[in-house]
């Protein structure tokens, strides 16, 4: 049995976070979910073997800030930014 791919998911909305975690597991991913960017950062190292998915709009540290920090740790790490705001300002 191959090693299941790992996804870190960050969203401050509890419902969406739980639903997305459920969905990721159903789709065959291992999911680690966080409600804030700061919590997630403590789990991300340079040797992280997965994908990071984060909501953009969040208090304290938003998705884009997290993206900056992640790139500083490892520019190769894949980061997926999601948002409920469909249009682009």
């Amino acid at each position: 049995m191959s090693i299941e791919p790992l996804v870190i998911f960050i969203d401050d909305d509890d419902d969406l976070r739980r639903a997305t975690a459920q969905m990721l597991e159903l789709s065959g991913f291992r999911a680690r979910v966080f409600s804030s960017a700061k919590q997630a950062l403590s789990d991300i190292t340079g040797s992280f073997p997965g994908v990071i998915a984060t909501d953009i709009r969040m208090p304290d540290m938003n998705g884009l800030q997290l993206f900056g920090r992640v790139r500083a740790i490892d520019p190769e790490l894949p980061v997926i930014l999601t948002t409920g705001h469909g249009d682009i300002d």
Binding site: Q22, R57, G86
Partner: protein, 632 residues
Amino acid sequence: MHFNVRIVAQWSRMESIRLISARSNDQTLRVATWLPRGWLATGVGGLVAFAILVIAALVAGRVAADRAVDGLVDLARAGLPLATATLAGEIEKQRLIPLTLARDPDVIALLGTYDSNAEANLDRKLKDIAEDAGSTVIYVIGADGRTLATSNFNEPDSFAGVKFPFRYYFRDAMTYGVGMQYAQGAVSARPGLFLSRRVEGSNAPLGVVVVKVELDGVERTWRASGALVSVINEEGVVIGTTIPDWRFSTLSALKEPEIGTVREHLQVVDDKPLATVPIRQQGELTIAEIDGKPTVLVGTSRSVGPSAPGWRLMLLLYADPIITRARLDGQITAVLAFSLLVALGRITWRRRQLQATRRAALTQMNTELEERVEERTDQLKRANLALAAEMAERENAETKVQRLRDELAQANRLSILGQIAAGVAHEMNQPLAAIGVYAHNAKCYFETGKSASGADSLDQIAALTEQIANKTEALRSFARRAPSAATFLTVDDAIDGALSLLSGRLREAGVSVIKPSRDPALRVMASRIRLEQILVNLLQNALDALRGRPHPRIEVQHAASAGNVQLSVRDNGPGLDPAIRTMLFMPFATSKENGLGLGLVISSEIARELGGYLKLTPSDEGACFTLTLPRA
């Protein structure tokens, strides 16, 4: 005084006629039309009054004089018996003297013997008797007519030896036994009444005893009574009188043969013609000439009686002063009565006029009062109407203000909705995204036979759907024009509601919201929407103040005092410019570029409507607004 009463009665009648004529106003007006006005009227009126007065006085005087004459006649009639008795008494008294002496032995003896001693004795006796009885002379005449004894034997004009055979009193006594004659004295020439009596002898009459009375005592008595008394004999000749000039005058002028007879009977010694008493009758009055002056007398007469048959006694009273005084009295009474009546008339007239004036004044006052009351009532009515109109207008205005206020609050809420619209969209997207994911998951679970997990996902979807429904309902009710009625409202619910409405913006702005610990005991009486609107406004202001600030934070707190609940919203923004603080609750005062400046104004209005107030609370950092409401 009977006549006075009569006059008064007469004048009362006249006065009452005048008063009756004056009673009717029409009559007065009619009189006034033909009477000249002013002084002329007064003059004519005065003349008429004076004429009436003069006539009244004359009539009254006349009537009073008539009454006085009647009174005098009565008085004279009353005085007549006394005057007559005086005369008759004297005559009767003197008549006894010859009657007694005719039987006197001394007299008989003298007439029989002609003794000179006896004569001297008798003279003295007669003198004594004459002095006692008040007789003028008593004397005894022999059958031949010669005087044998006399009481005036020692006087100059003594009758002694004088012969009186021609005297009627001698002849009558010799012939009939008695004689009575008023005549002038043959010796003294003084008039007097002679009363004689025959002295009987055994064969033939011896002589006559005579007494002469001059009646001056009687006349004196009459004079003392103040009346004019005369005694007139059967031939109409005045013999005794209180007026000496009238003696031997006749009441009516006599013709020649009668005059002779009269003179003969009187046996007057002088040749004076018989005068007529200067007297004439004028109605009840007797006008006599006394001392050359016409004098008014009132009187009556009667016969003297048996003591002097044929004689009449006339008693007259001096009427002039009494009549004059009575007339004057009457006139004065009339004048007084007239004056009194005129005064009474004037007083009555004046009083009536005064009453009429007063009545007229009263009527006028009444009318004026009524008019005034009516006027005042009208004014009050108008004032009432005006007031009612004003009240209606004010009510209208208040309604307008209320409506305006409601509309402003509504506009404020819609503005809030507009501002939170973007946030709301995000709010919706989150649960919608979650629903989408759960739906996908549920499908997978059911495909793989994990129906329990699929059902769980569906439950999640249901919960999220309800969450969205709640949110839209909150928005819809917030946008509703008419706010819900006031209810008991937990302050925490209102805070949750307000934060929920703004959750999108708050999240987007990354603002930390600190909520108070829940206290269900803190309740107010308010419409939920109203209270939420205030909180949303305060939260929005805080959000605006926090834009671009680091670590933005909003703290909502609540506190309770005795009767109130305090709700405060504090931010850590830049705080308020002191310049803007005083203008915070003024309409259109705003520190925001796109602000209308109505949020705080409307919130303050709502707070007041809920019975509380909203104010800025001093704060170390940022701004803090506190809402105070009565605790429910």
